[in-house]
């Protein structure tokens, strides 16, 4: 008589397959597994890098060798074997790409499967896309158009060749080599990523977008993204991620650095949908990412993330509010299902006077997953009248999942104002029944309720991402009430 029982629902959720679990059959130029100075020299040579960068990498490798993996996150996983990973896998290309038409057809198919056909992108949405597959940037669209405004948007490798002075000036300034274990590893072995520079006073007229994809097995992805917004400029940057379904755990250790100079604004949005592992918790991507931005006077950095993928996520997009009157924002929806684990949040470091930060975190846990918010709000002695508002909400879909909140607040200035709010709730059977009684089916009911819960964050996403994110939330949680 009643609507589907809980057992059935739980069964259904485990039945929902990962949609992006295909691999692309293209020739790949892959380095042997293992990590040592020779591999780093090989990567650097393959990429025809200047000596300073090779030295920088080798130094990072030395630093990394002396570091140990962090143990403090609320995560349990088998530590990756860093000598079993191949640190360089590039889709083989026969020649320089002059236009989009020169892209390998198999690769084009991959992009089509991801629903980001570049042609479509060009025609419909006016989004410039950089596509990074297995660490190497494959294609960047719209470059010429952006160049007219003096905007540089290209792969990191290209930036190293074409704009070495900019790269050298900013690389590692926000996330120093010795910042943490994975940042040091990334600094030693990063193979590509995206680079973006917006000149003084320029408002970038379109969303810049990067899609990351891990394709090869036995590889890690270590991309490095650097966005520099010069004085009074503006850019909105989007990042999307997928990976094939594999039984092994793949490592993704990226570093993203944002530099917002005086009066600049950077909006950085991520929809992360790396393969989360199967319903038994087998396989899936380890997503160990360091993202940080530095805000100079009156500048603003806004991080928005929708995290639905990865077996294990360890990620804290942060803002160093160095300049007076600068603003940092962090809006996050993190969904975990089955055996996924996420330990994510942000750091807001207030150095300048009247700096302001806002943190809105919405965790959604389903299945047997564990979802933690970890955040640090630090008000330094000179940050007169700094203000922070944090809100951390957790929504539980089952009785077997966990939600945890670890807020750290350090205030060294008595004029600062820090507010923290937190709630935990279980998705209401009453809410679902109310929807059912109005003729809304169960899947849609959950989608409505969850999207309503996450609305404050989803609203911060650019239009074309918001739709994608809503769908992703619905898929990730299909029938997951219990």
């Amino acid at each position: 008589m009643a609507y589907d029982g809980e057992d059935k629902i739980l069964e259904e959720v485990t039945g929902k397959a990962y949609e992006f679990g295909f691999t692309t059959d293209i020739d790949s130029d892959k380095a042997p597994a293992g990590l040592n100075e020779d591999i780093i020299r090989l990567i650097s040579a393959k990429k025809n890098e200047p000596d300073w960068l090779l030295e920088w990498r080798l130094n990072a490798f030395k630093v990394w060798t002396d570091m140990v993996e962090p143990e403090w996150p609320h995560l349990q996983y088998e530590k990756p074997d860093f000598q079993a990973i191949s640190y360089y896998a590039a889709p083989k290309q026969k020649k320089e790409l002059a236009s989009m038409d020169d892209v390998d057809p198999e690769l084009r198919k991959t992009m089509d499967k991801l629903g980001i056909s570049l042609e479509e992108q060009k025609r419909l949405s006016g989004v410039a896309v950089d596509f990074v597959m297995d660490s190497v940037s494959v294609a960047t669209s719209f470059k010429d158009k952006l160049a007219e405004l003096g905007i540089i948007f290209c792969s990191m490798s290209e930036a190293v060749q074409e704009h070495p002075e900019l790269v050298r000036k900013h690389l590692g300034t926000v996330v120093p080599v010795r910042d943490n274990f994975y940042a040091a590893l990334n600094s030693a072995v990063f193979t590509d990523g995206s680079f973006c520079y917006i000149p003084k006073g320029v408002k970038c007229p379109m969303e810049l977008s990067t899609y990351f994809r891990i394709n090869e097995s036995g590889t890690g992805q270590f991309e490095r993204t650097l966005v520099v917004a010069d004085e009074s400029s503006y850019v909105s940057y989007l990042e999307g991620c997928t990976a094939p379904q594999r039984d092994e755990n793949q490592l993704h250790a990226a570093v993203v650095e944002l530099v917002a100079l005086d009066g600049a604004e950077i909006k950085y949005s991520t929809v992360q949908n790396w393969y989360p592992g199967d319903e038994e918790g087998k396989g899936g991507v380890f997503n160990f990412v360091t993202k940080r931005g530095i805000c100079h006077t009156r500048s603003k950095i806004s991080w928005t993330q929708v995290e639905t993928g990865s077996a294990v996520t360890w990620k804290y997009p942060s803002c160093i509010l160095k300049g007076d009157d600068s603003v940092g924002e962090f809006y996050s929806v993190a969904v975990t299902n089955n055996f996924q684990q996420a330990d994510t949040g942000t750091k807001m470091v207030h150095l300048g006077k009247r700096t302001r930060s806002t943190i809105i975190s919405k965790g959604i846990s389903a299945g047997k997953s564990q979802n933690s918010y970890r955040g640090l709000v630090q008000i330094m002695p000179n940050a007169d009248k700094a203000r922070n508002f944090s809100q951390c909400d957790s929504l539980l879909m089952t009785d077997q999942c966990g939600a945890h909140t670890f807020p750290y607040i350090e205030t060294k200035n008595p004029t600062a104002q820090v507010e923290h709010e937190a709630t935990t709730s279980k998705i209401g059977e009453d809410q679902i029944f109310y929807c059912l009684q109005r003729g809304i089916d169960e899947e849609q009911a959950i989608s409505l309720i969850v999207n309503g819960y996450a609305k404050e964050v989803l609203n911060k996403l650019p239009m074309e991402f918001a739709v994608e994110a809503q769908k992703l939330l619905a898929i990730s949680l299909e029938g997951s009430v219990g």
Binding site: A2, L436, R438, G439, I440, Y453, A454
Partner: protein, 249 residues
């Protein structure tokens, strides 16, 4: 429209309905009254298909189909509407989006295309006037921050939008002041027609001054112990429920 035969239902092994019989014809308004704990709200929940309620015996025919064979959303799509005693809040979901999803669910069931934005807005305008539901209430999240009266008006607004064949009003008068009671009743009365039936569940007679029923039934210990014309409600008001517990004449 609705034929209930010998209905037995329980919640967690506690029997609440014990052989209930009721027949509601098209266009009729039936009121069910009864003391607290007599099974009034259980009847509403069982008919709407709430899953905690287990039917152990009996049958319910809804306009020619076996109601108990359908799940809650199918019943709704087939034209059964329940105005909740305690309408639920859904934060972040706008009232209008919620209604649109409901209407499109029903249309899909009928093999129709989703409603166009223009038709939808016209419908909203027409129906919200019925219960004097101001724009700000329509545009807010479902029931979030609504007063008791606003929630009940919203229920009637939703009913008007969905145009059900059978509407069950579960203690819609509870927590209403006299103005809200008038507005809600007007909304219901405006929707009375030959093809639509109502089951009005209430504890008090005063609602029935506004929504005048064709029949009144008294529920006690999970059974209908007395049925009569609308005057029965007045008699109940005067003599109290104890009167009914004596053997029926």
């Amino acid at each position: 429209m609705l034929t209930i035969k010998n209905l037995h239902a329980q919640v967690e092994d506690t029997p609440i309905l014990n052989g209930l019989n009721l027949e509601i014809g098209p266009g009729e308004v039936h009121a069910i009254m009864g003391p607290n704990g007599s099974g009034k709200s259980t009847l509403a929940s069982v008919l709407a298909g709430r899953e905690d309620y287990e039917v152990t015996q009996g049958s319910v025919d809804f306009d020619g189909t076996d109601l108990l064979d359908m799940d809650a959303s199918e019943r709704a799509r087939d034209g059964l509407f329940l105005a909740f005693q305690y309408p639920v809040e859904i934060p972040g979901v706008s009232n209008l989006n919620f209604m649109k999803a409901a209407i499109n669910g029903k249309r899909e069931h009928q093999g129709l295309e989703p409603i166009s934005a223009k038709d939808f807005l016209a419908l909203v305008k027409e129906k919200s006037a019925l219960v004097e539901l101001a724009g700000r209430l329509r545009d807010r999240s479902v029931n979030e921050g609504f007063s008791g009266g606003e929630k009940k008006r919203n229920e009637i607004f939703q009913m008007a939008m969905l145009e059900p064949k059978l509407a069950i009003l579960d203690e819609t008068d509870s927590g209403l002041d006299i103005d809200a009671l008038r507005i809600v009743s007007q909304g219901v009365n405006a929707m009375r027609d030959a093809g639509r039936s109502f089951l009005v569940i209430t504890h008090y007679q005063r609602l029935l001054d506004h929504i005048v029923p064709d029949f009144v039934h008294v529920l006690s210990e999970g059974q209908i112990v007395k049925s009569g014309p609308k005057e029965l409600a007045l008699e109940l008001e005067e003599k109290g429920y104890d009167w009914i517990k004596e053997p029926a004449v």
